[in-house]
C-alpha cells in the first residue's frame, strides 16, 4: 500500500517537473510565408519554385541562463509537400522542465549513431519508407529541398540533398550575453515557433559562388561530391542562419 502512494507521489512530481512543449515551423522566403507554386527570384536573378522540403531535426536542447542545457531525446522528420500547410506546422513534441531559458539549439540531421545502422530494419521516421534514405551513399539525407528553375530553355528540376556526417547542420538560437532571447516555459507548457527561410540556401558564398542552375551539374547538389562540395558548403554555411525564433 505504501509503495502505491510512493509511485503516485513520484508520478505527480514527474508531471510537475515536465511541461509539454510543441515545436512548430513557419516556412519563409525572405520574410514572406512560402507559397507553393509562386515564382521567386535568387539574388542572382534566377527564377525558381519550391516543390518539396523534408528535414530531420534531432539533438534538441534548451539553454538555461547559466549556459547549462536541458537535452531532449527524439528525432523528427519535418515534411512540407506541395499544397500542404507551410505555416505553424508541428515538427516535434517534447517534455521540458518548466523555467526560464535563453534559447535552444538543435541539429538538422540524424545523429551519427543512428545514421549508419541498417536502414532495412529501422522504423519511421528512419528506414527506407522515409524517402530520406540514400541508397548509394548509405545514411540519410538530412535536409532535402527540391524545386524547379525557370530557365530560358524551359523548367528544370533541381535538388539540394544535404547529408553525410560532414553536413549535419548545427542550429544555435540562444543568446546568453544579452536578454534578447527569452523562452519562458510555464508548467502548462507552450509552443515554440521557428521561422525557416528556405531561400537562404541561394545566397552567394565566398567569391560570389552560388547554386547556378544554368549549369546542369549544379542541379543535383549532393553530400560530399568534390564536383559540388564547394557549393554544398556554401549552402551549409547559409543554412546555419536560416532558422530564427518567430516573434
Amino acid at each position: 500500500m505504501r509503495k502505491c502512494w510512493l509511485v503516485f507521489l513520484l508520478s505527480i512530481s514527474a508531471y510537475a517537473l515536465s511541461a509539454p512543449v510543441e515545436l512548430k515551423v513557419n516556412l519563409r522566403v525572405g520574410s514572406q510565408p512560402l507559397q507553393w507554386g509562386q515564382t521567386y527570384q535568387t539574388p542572382q536573378g534566377l527564377r525558381y519554385q519550391i516543390d518539396l522540403l523534408k528535414f530531420y531535426i534531432s539533438e534538441v536542447a534548451l539553454v538555461r541562463p547559466d549556459g547549462r542545457e536541458v537535452r531532449l531525446d527524439g528525432l523528427s522528420l519535418a515534411e512540407f509537400k506541395r499544397d500542404g500547410p507551410t505555416q505553424g506546422v508541428r515538427v516535434m513534441m517534447m517534455d521540458v522542465p518548466p523555467g526560464q531559458y535563453r534559447g535552444l539549439r538543435f541539429n538538422v540531421g540524424v545523429p551519427r549513431e543512428l545514421n549508419h545502422l541498417d536502414a532495412g530494419t529501422q522504423q519511421l521516421p528512419l528506414g527506407v519508407n522515409s524517402g530520406m534514405y540514400w541508397a548509394w551513399n548509405p545514411g540519410y539525407i538530412f535536409y532535402r529541398l527540391e524545386g524547379i528553375a525557370l530557365l530560358p530553355e524551359g523548367n528544370q528540376k533541381w535538388v539540394i540533398h544535404m547529408g553525410t556526417d560532414a553536413f549535419r547542420l548545427p542550429v544555435r538560437l540562444h543568446d546568453l550575453q544579452t536578454r534578447r532571447v527569452q523562452i519562458n516555459i510555464p508548467p502548462s507548457g507552450r509552443v515554440i515557433t521557428l521561422n525557416l527561410d528556405v531561400a537562404k540556401a541561394f545566397e552567394p558564398g565566398p567569391g560570389g559562388a552560388f547554386v547556378d542552375w544554368r549549369k546542369q551539374s549544379l542541379r543535383q547538389l549532393h553530400g560530399l561530391s568534390p564536383e559540388t562540395s564547394l557549393l554544398m558548403s556554401v549552402v551549409y554555411f547559409n543554412m546555419q542562419s536560416a532558422f530564427s525564433l518567430a516573434q
Partner: protein
C-alpha cells in the same frame, strides 16, 4: 647462502630444459591412409560449394520470390509506367542492358552508368558501381526512387501498388502488411537471390568435363590465372570479383568520379567496383560508362596499361600480351557464358509474357 641459491637456480633451469625436450608432442603423421581421397571425378574444383547468403530479416519463401519476380518485371513500379527493373536488367543479356552504354529511365531520361549484370548478385558484398550499398534490399531503393530511373517517392509507390488488388493481396500474404517501398525491396531482393548461374563451359570443365572448354579458352585460362595476364588478383573467387573499388586507368580525367562522389576524397576519384565476369560475353558494352564496346577491346585496354592516372591500381601496367594471347583470353571470358541461366523459365517474366516489358 648465495651459492646455495645459485645451485637451486641451476637445478631448476636444468629440469626445465630437460622437460622441454622430453615432453611428448604430437608427431607428424607419416601415413596417408587415413586422409580423405581427393575426388577423382573433379580434380580441378577451384571453389568450395556455396549457399546463397540470406539475411535474417528477409527469409526466402516461394511466395515472396514469386512476388519479387512479378515486381521485377512490372513497369507500374515507375512514375510514368514505362520502366521496370527488367527494362535495364534484361534476362537475355544476363540481366544487363543489352548493348546500351547507359540506360533510359522515366520520361526518356538517360542515366550516367552502365547497368551491371545481376548474375550471382546474391553473393556481392558491395553494390552499385561505387560499392557503397551493403545489401540488395537497400540497393533497390536507389533505382526505384532515382529521378532518372523509376522516380517514385515511397508514398506514391505504396499508393500505386496498394490500389492493385492482386498486389494488395500478395503483400498481405507474404509480409502481413500493405505494399510499401520497404516490402517491395524485400520481395525484389528475394527474387534477385535466385539469379544464380553455375553452368558455363568453365563450370563444366571445373566439374571434370575435359571437352567443355576449347583449347583457346584453356590457354586463356592459364593467362587469366597467371602473372602474365594477371586478371585474377581483382577478378578473384567463384564470381571473378573482389567486390572492391579500383581505378583501372580508363581515363586521365574522369567525367564520372566514381567512389569520390560519396567520400569526397581525391584518392577515390575514378574508383569503381570490380564487376563479376560471369556471363561477361553477354553484357557488352563494358566499364562503368559502357565506353568499351567489345571484350577484345576491354582486354586490349588492360594490355596497354590504360591512361596515365595517379589513382590507377598498382597492378595496372602494360602486360605485353601478343594478339593470339589476347584472343585466348577473350575465348576464356566467353567460356564463362551460361545459357541455361538466361533461358531459365523460373527467372523469366511470369505467365510467359514477353521477356522484356
Amino acid at each position: 647462502m648465495r651459492r646455495r641459491q645459485f645451485i637451486a637456480l641451476g637445478l631448476l633451469l636444468g629440469v626445465g630444459l630437460l622437460g622441454f625436450f622430453l615432453w611428448p608432442r604430437p608427431t607428424q603423421s607419416t601415413s596417408t591412409a587415413d586422409l580423405p581421397i581427393p575426388p577423382q571425378a573433379s580434380p580441378r574444383v577451384l571453389f568450395a560449394e556455396r549457399t546463397v547468403p540470406i539475411p535474417e530479416d528477409n527469409p526466402q519463401t516461394p511466395a515472396k520470390v514469386e512476388l519479387g519476380r512479378r515486381l521485377f518485371y512490372d513497369t507500374r513500379l515507375s512514375k510514368d509506367g514505362t520502366v521496370a527493373c527488367a527494362s535495364c536488367h534484361k534476362p537475355e543479356f544476363a540481366f544487363s542492358d543489352g548493348g546500351k552504354p547507359v540506360s533510359t529511365g522515366i520520361f526518356g531520361r538517360k542515366g550516367l552508368r552502365n547497368a551491371p549484370t545481376l548474375t550471382n548478385v546474391a553473393f556481392r558484398r558491395h553494390l552499385f558501381w561505387e560499392g557503397r550499398s551493403p545489401r540488395l534490399e537497400l540497393q533497390a531503393v536507389g533505382p526505384l526512387t532515382a529521378h532518372d530511373e523509376m522516380g517514385l517517392e515511397p508514398e506514391e509507390l505504396a499508393q500505386k501498388l496498394g490500389a492493385i488488388p492482386e498486389y494488395a493481396r500478395a503483400f498481405q500474404e507474404v509480409f502481413g502488411e500493405a505494399p510499401s517501398l520497404k516490402t517491395v525491396t524485400y520481395a525484389i531482393a528475394a527474387f534477385e537471390r535466385t539469379l544464380v548461374s553455375y553452368n558455363s563451359p568453365f563450370d563444366r570443365y571445373q566439374a571434370g568435363d575435359d571437352s567443355a572448354m576449347s583449347q583457346a579458352a584453356l590457354r586463356g585460362m592459364e593467362l587469366f590465372f597467371g602473372e602474365k595476364g594477371d586478371c585474377f588478383h581483382c577478378h578473384v573467387g567463384p564470381d571473378f570479383t573482389d567486390d572492391e573499388p579500383r581505378n583501372t586507368a580508363l581515363y586521365t580525367v574522369y567525367k564520372d568520379i566514381g567512389l569520390a562522389r560519396a567520400t569526397g576524397k581525391d584518392e577515390d576519384v575514378g574508383k569503381f567496383k570490380t564487376p563479376t565476369l560471369r556471363n561477361v560475353a553477354l553484357t557488352a558494352p563494358y566499364m562503368h560508362d559502357g565506353s568499351i564496346q567489345t571484350l577484345r577491346e576491354a582486354v586490349q585496354h588492360y594490355n596497354r596499361g590504360g591512361e596515365p592516372n595517379l589513382n590507377a591500381d598498382a597492378l595496372i601496367r602494360p602486360l605485353g600480351l601478343t594478339d593470339p594471347e589476347v584472343e585466348d583470353l577473350v575465348a576464356f571470358l566467353e567460356s564463362l557464358t551460361d545459357r541455361s541461366f538466361t533461358t531459365n523459365p523460373a527467372l523469366l517474366p511470369p505467365r510467359g509474357k514477353g521477356s522484356t516489358p
